[in-house]
């Protein structure tokens, strides 16, 4: 692994898998990085944990993520399709220890 560059595998809604490289020394949330990587995410609220359209399921590497804030947990609890592996990508800032993480996009497209 190069310094401050990690690999994250993204499973799209159709099941297709791609690994993207993410710099960890930029101040962008995972939601912003996914959008910049041309993934289809509405991000209606712009990162305020209000719309949950950036909902992802963390398939691998869940334990290496920082704990969710109360606001994020409140939002996740309200979602019909969230479970223990669910996070909001807009609330996640990745670090070097998140290398190898695997996520699946689940946010609504409407």
């Amino acid at each position: 692994m190069e310094d401050n560059l990690i690999q994250v595998t993204v499973v799209d809604r159709d099941g297709s898998e791609n690994t993207i490289e993410i710099p960890t020394d930029i101040n962008l949330s995972l939601m912003e990085i996914l959008k910049a990587s041309a993934y289809d995410i509405l991000a209606t609220c712009g990162g305020m944990a209000l719309c949950a359209t950036c909902h992802v399921e963390v398939l691998e590497g869940l334990d290496n993520l920082p704990e969710a804030s109360d606001q994020e947990l409140d939002m996740l609890d309200t979602l019909p399709d969230a479970d223990r592996q669910s996070r909001l990508a807009c609330q996640l800032h990745l670090h070097n220890n998140n290398n190898g993480m695997k996520i699946k996009l689940k946010g609504s497209l409407q």
Binding site: L50, A52, M75, T78, L79, P80
Partner: protein, 334 residues
Amino acid sequence: MINTDICIIGAGPVGLFAVFEAGLLKMRCHLIDVLPQVGGQLSEIYPHKPIYDIPGYPSITAQELIDNQLEQIKPFAPTFTLGERVEQIEKQDDGSFIIATSDETKVHAQVIVIAGGLGCFEPRKPEIQNLHLFEGKGVDYMVKDPAKYADKRIVIAGGGDSALDWTYHLADIAQQVTLIHRSDSFRGAPDSAEKVFKLAQQGKINLLLSHNLSNIHGNGTLTSVETINKDKETIAVEADYFIPLYGLTPKLGPIAGWGLNIDKNAIEVNTFDYSTNVERIYAIGDINTYPGKLKLILCGYHEAALMCQSAFKFVYPDQKLTFKYTTVNGINTF
């Protein structure tokens, strides 16, 4: 009927600033907002959060900004319809519009400006086939009048605060309350969860954790809700009412049906004047989209200023617009 020059849908910071810019050009504004107060998300969601990127204010709280903006537009005496959602617009023969709200307030305006921010917050619905068939016939997305559920069999679904709180409150009122949650715990609301666990232990409610909603049944009106547990067993719960409480999600709402070009829940505009594809309808602030769009309050202010320069021709078709500075002319009140 309310008569105005510009009808602004959305009374957030950008809608309010549009009143100022319109006022400088002697155009009157009426604002409609689905929320019961002005200010949009700033007042509703984060009134005490500081904002750092408003020119001239190193830091200002969201509510202070709204209060200042209201002060700033006072000379132009805008009028408001609050707590009502715009449902319909109807184009008149002369090009003007009649706008109708959910409470049947009617506004006649020459120009419509959509400054709706994220849109309206609507209940998030679970993906169950046929759910829509039972809306209003046993399926409710919010609890308006708890007395309605007296001595009824209620199924609530969800794991957030409102699902837990209503489970707790309706346990005393309803004949039977069942709470269905997809997970085996409630992560966000430990206090409310504890109360609900206690009720379940006492046998006062039926708690189905690690259950997924799968189907609903009825003939005309709802009779049962079906769930699947993690062992893939199906359980049918008899119910008079099913209340899925999955929070609110911002949606465009009726605006989506007005023939405007829409991309990912945002209205496409021409950056020349922030006009939409429908003449006399503009969209400014977070609700619009164009190449390079930034969802910033200050960008919305800019959009409001340019929009007014363009809208002028519909309000005063016989007058020539001359650009004036407030430092030269002051503010000409109505």
